[in-house]
């Protein structure tokens, strides 16, 4: 019985047990490493929420730009609605400044056009357009963790 099994698999019981324990040891090791990574990812973040209220729609008259520096966003108000563009440079995270043609980063000179598209410098990605929504109390809410396709406007119901 035993020797028959040996012939079929071509591996002795001793080798099989050895390999099996080695495999188990490696798998448990990997599981422990995965656990350490998981442990170091906080379950609760005591950071500021990525969602925040920016006030009533009336505060954003058409044709204005508001720079919310501490939140790292620009709020644009145009004829077709509101949109929020992140002011965090996609290169190394400096805060970009508004220029006549778009945005410019003071750190390594990345340039973006009015829609946040990269037109110069080292920035690898366009500035993010961020989701705007409406809270039940009527004020507007921006979420810096929710990126939306460029060009999406938030329309105020009339």
């Amino acid at each position: 019985m035993n020797s028959a099994a040996n012939e079929k698999t071509g591996i002795s019981r001793r080798d099989f047990l050895g390999l099996a324990s080695l495999g188990t040891a490696i798998l448990s090791g990997l599981a422990v490493i995965a656990g350490i990574f998981r442990m170091s990812k906080p379950n609760v973040r005591y950071e500021e929420s990525t969602r925040f209220k920016i006030g009533k729609p009336e505060n954003f008259p058409v044709g204005t730009v508001k720079k919310l520096d501490d939140r790292g966003v620009f709020i644009f108000s145009t004829d077709d609605g509101l949109h929020a563009i992140s002011s965090v440079c996609t290169h190394l995270g400096c805060i970009v400044a508004l220029t006549e043609t778009g945005f410019q980063c003071p750190c390594h000179g990345s340039k973006y056009n009015g829609n946040g598209k990269v037109i110069g410098g080292p920035a690898p990605r366009n500035l993010a357009w961020l989701e705007i929504s409406r809270h039940v109390d009527g004020s507007l809410v921006v979420d810096t963790a929710k990126e939306i396709p460029a060009g999406t406007k938030f329309k105020l119901a009339v």
Binding site: Y46, H91, C94, P106, V118, G120
Partner: protein
């Protein structure tokens, strides 16, 4: 009865009187070294000295061979550790307190400013000395003949030295710290440039994952400072000690430092070292074979050259003590006059402009302004890999232990330096004068920007031209 008492008390008095001598005797078991035998015992009976051999080769003791650069790096490390422990008395690694405690250390604590300066300058001095030490090892071909892996360990030590310095830079939580942290976090995130270009970021966001792992959150904040502190005072030092232990152990097993083949003592050496009282005796002049050396295969201590060695006590120790005091004096004098910088409290709203990397990363910072990934991950990785592979690419086993392998090597080294510098300056001048890809073709794919920039071109040039030498 009372007489006996007297005797006991007298004996006790005697013991008390000699306590100093007997304590010293138990501490330094071999007594004051007076003969060659006790000088040898002084080395191998002492915990701190037994790491070194009882005898040292004359070549090793010539100041212009090593310039004491490795040992100077070690002493700077010791100074950094000691001053760092003192700083820890007051430093508090929380974003509410870090800046204020560093400010207190600088302006309120007695001696705090000096200790902080010493810590800062000894730490950064390590970078200079470790690099010079590496250059010495390289130009004397000392990564050869069994020392290949010790060179690789050396590269780890170099990386750890940079890591400890950079993590320390972030601890004061001033503007420099904060923006360095933000930039490093974004470099860690930069593999996103590649995954984005390939369109696989949704499935495999290694950049985002690593950034969150490093920061302990999505943005630089309190968790991040805790983690950087952990790296600075625990993880990096533990690995540094581990690798240092291996570094020194291997030097010992390799039979000490490299020395030229067919070494002959020169006239000047007699001014430098004291030769043993007599040759022969317990120190045979001809090579003896230990059991290990009779075994097959390449053995440790292969190129021991017994004739041209002298006792480490006092020859080596005197040299080391001299280097130590030079280091200490240099650091204290520098720290006395030059203050470690402390900017305003970290402010996430106002980027430091220009966001200044510490001086030892200025080169990298320049590369970063083409592509965060190439400059911060790709090129440094390639450079380190290239450095680590040197002993495995250069298999030539001769000429180890001589500066520039004699005269010809010197001119090659100079040519390489000149060519590299010219091409580098040319590239920089070109970029400053004419701009780079995106100024010409704004829609160029990011992958091209990552792969082709002055940094990669320069490395390419070195790779193509290098092997011809």
């Amino acid at each position: 009865m009372s007489e006996m008492n007297h005797k006991g008390i007298d004996a006790f008095k005697e013991n008390l009187k000699s306590i100093g001598a007997s304590l010293a005797g138990s501490l330094f078991r071999s007594g004051r070294p007076a003969s060659d035998r006790s000088r040898a015992a002084a080395m191998f009976n002492n915990f701190f000295l037994h790491v070194q051999g009882v005898k040292t080769h004359i070549n090793t003791l010539r100041p212009a061979y090593t310039f004491g650069l490795g040992i100077a790096s070690l002493f700077l490390l010791l100074i950094t550790i000691l001053s760092g422990v003192l700083l820890m008395i007051y430093y508090n690694p929380s974003i509410e307190n870090a800046y204020n405690t560093v400010k207190d250390i600088t302006y309120v604590v007695f001696g705090g400013k000096l200790i902080r300066n010493i810590h800062k300058w000894a730490g950064e001095g390590m970078i200079i000395f470790v690099m010079l030490h590496m250059a010495r090892v390289f130009y004397t071909g000392s990564y050869k003949r069994g020392r290949e892996f010790n060179w690789v360990i050396g590269i780890m030590l170099l990386v750890l030295t940079f890591g400890i310095n950079l993590s320390g830079y972030m601890l004061p939580w001033d503007q420099l710290s904060y923006w360095a942290l933000v930039i490093v976090a974004n470099i860690i995130q930069s593999p996103k440039e590649i995954t984005d270009s390939l369109g696989i970021t949704q499935y495999f966001d290694i950049g985002g994952f690593s950034k969150e792992f490093f920061l302990g959150g999505l943005a630089a904040g309190k968790e991040s400072l805790t983690r950087v502190y952990l790296l600075h005072i625990m993880l990096f030092p533990i690995f540094l000690f581990l690798f240092l232990g291996m570094h020194f152990w291997r030097i010992r097993k390799d039979g000490g430092l490299t020395k030229p083949e067919g070494f002959e003592p020169a006239g000047g050496d007699t001014n430098l070292v004291t030769f043993p009282e007599k040759r022969g005796g317990i120190f045979p002049t001809n090579k003896t074979y230990g059991l290990m050396e009779l075994a097959h295969g390449r053995t440790p201590a292969v190129d021991r050259d017994v004739e041209n060695t002298v006792l480490s006590w006092p020859n080596l120790l005197v040299a080391e003590v001299a280097v130590f005091f030079l280091c200490l004096a240099g650091v204290v004098a520098y720290a006395f006059h030059i203050n470690a910088p402390l900017k305003e409290l970290a402010n996430p709203l106002i980027p430091e402009n220009p966001a200044k990397a510490p001086w030892y990363f200025l080169g990298l910072q320049e590369l970063l302004s083409y592509s965060a990934f190439m400059g911060g991950v790709g090129l440094p990785g390639l450079a380190l890999l290239g450095l680590a592979l040197i002993p495995y690419l250069d298999r030539e086993q001769h000429h180890a232990g001589v500066w520039f392998t004699g005269g010809q090597g010197k001119s090659v080294a100079l040519q390489a330096l000149a060519a590299g510098t010219v091409v580098l300056l040319g590239l920089l001048a070109f970029v400053i004068g004419f701009g780079w890809f995106r100024n010409w073709w704004p829609n160029i794919p990011q992958l091209l920007i990552v792969l082709v920039n002055p940094g990669t071109i320069w490395v390419g040039f070195i790779c193509v031209v290098g092997p011809y030498h």
